[in-house]
Symmetry: C2
């Protein structure tokens, strides 16, 4: 069984690491908040003093971090992963970051003889705990095959999309579609509500036709119930929309609706609602239409 | 068996009328294009010279017309339905029009002792031919019960949403969500395509998660295959987005994303692509991103 290093034990990383331990893997971990991690995970893990040390102790290093700058810092910063790697190591970044950053990391590690995968996930905290995450992977097939036993412990719907960065691109697409569809449902539901129509009946009728979506089913219900407890926060989704917009800017793909929804998320941030569930696009609509 | 009048035998109305005839109903029909209708439907129907005459000959009058002005003309215009009605008649408008117009028609007929229903459909020409239309209904429950045997011949997913205009509101919601979701899928797919990623794999991976929708499944495939043969045209969908925007304007509900997608549809109309399928929002994205 390969020795695993795990860097970043937040809301997502911690339950993922626990699932790996439960499956029998021995873990060396690192997080800036060492104390909290140690307490939580007790003596089942080795706690390293740096990402470099994690790399030195592990066959496979997994990172689960908030954003591109944190991934760069952990890989390239002082005491970073790149200082501790040896050529047989595999690096798997499961954070959701810019595809361009994934490719940059891939290239730098490849120069040292180390393969890496970008493997962002979808499914949130519940998916991480219940090991039902969708995992979208970019990288070489050999590396994917080597990582598969680990992915199978963490998730269910595991797809190799293409070469380095392709996993992140799929995740970007996912976040764009999810965000814009929530906005679509929010506009429709609040319009119907202000027209005095029974919104639950509208949702039910629409679920039987072309307007059907997981979002109409789940977030549509949240919007109707005004249940904006996360789930997945506006703050984090706004970060992901930014990755989409930056990628669009790099590639010269004009993303008008993505930009519009990102700006609605900014409106929510500006009224202090960044920690609400992303279905709070409905909450903003209620404010704008004065129906709440 | 009640005698049915049917006004408006276009792409949708004609197959619907045929299904009613097949079920044994006797029909009196009217369309501005009388000749074409007579030829198509042969001697199985009575052809009336005016909407008024249709109303005089029928227990239930159904209209299936392009837009609000046509419905107003047929009901209120010279030789209109309202001149031929008697108090036991039921009026069913199955066109997709503004909820406000539906309520206006309802009120005017109600004053003459006639109940009406707004009953717009979803499912397109195929749904009309195969009698699998979704039917969203607004009006009184008694009137709905009286119409149900007819609806059951025309469609499958039949829901009484609420009082007059509620069926149209549900249809407005449907068209908003469908239009915006197509745009979401288009932005995501074209971004991935320009990034050089296998878009089919992205679609397949995303269908397993929160981004799942009928639109990603059907229109996503159309966009990937660049198959923009209608289906449901940009021209007609643009009309429906206008109903949404006018309703939003009336009720003071700001519909930013709906407006954005409507304006993308205008861009398609301006390059002469109004008769393409509404998934041509992907075709526009390809042009904007220079990937086609």
């Amino acid at each position: 069984m390969e020795k695993i290093g795990f860097i970043g034990l937040g809301i997502m990383g911690l339950p993922m690491a626990k699932n790996l331990i439960k499956a029998g893997y021995s873990l060396t971990i690192f997080d800036i908040n060492t104390k909290a991690i140690e307490t939580l995970m007790k003596e089942k893990v080795e706690v390293a003093e740096s990402p470099k040390r994690v790399a030195e102790c592990s066959d496979i290093v997994i990172t689960m971090l908030p954003d591109s700058p944190e991934v760069k810092l952990v890989v390239f910063g002082p005491g970073g992963v790149i200082e501790g790697i040896s050529s047989e190591m595999l690096f798997i970044d499961m954070s959701t970051i810019a595809p361009a950053t994934s490719r940059e990391v891939y290239k730098a590690l490849k120069e040292k003889g180390v393969e890496s995968l970008d493997a962002p996930v979808s499914g949130g905290e519940v998916g991480a705990i219940e090991a039902t995450l969708s995992i979208m992977v970019g990288g070489l097939e050999d590396a994917f095959d080597r990582a598969l036993p680990i992915f199978n412990i963490l998730g269910k719907n595991i797809v190799l999309i293409g070469k380095s960065g392709a996993g992140q691109m799929a995740k970007v697409c996912n976040q764009m579609i999810v965000g814009i569809t929530i906005q679509a449902v929010a506009e429709a539901m609040i319009l119907a509500k202000k027209a005095g129509v029974d919104v639950s009946k509208v949702r039910k009728a629409l679920l039987g036709g072309f307007a059907q979506s997981k979002i109409l089913e789940l977030h549509g219900k949240r919007i109707i119930d005004q249940n904006y407890k996360p789930g997945f926060t506006i703050k984090l989704h706004r970060k992901d929309m930014n990755i989409a917009l930056e990628t669009g800017r790099d590639l010269l793909v004009p993303l008008s609706t993505t930009a519009m929804v990102a700006s609605n998320m900014d409106a929510l941030l500006s009224i202090g609602s960044g920690d609400m569930d992303h279905s709070a696009l409905g909450f903003l609509m209620e404010k704008l239409a004065n129906t709440n």
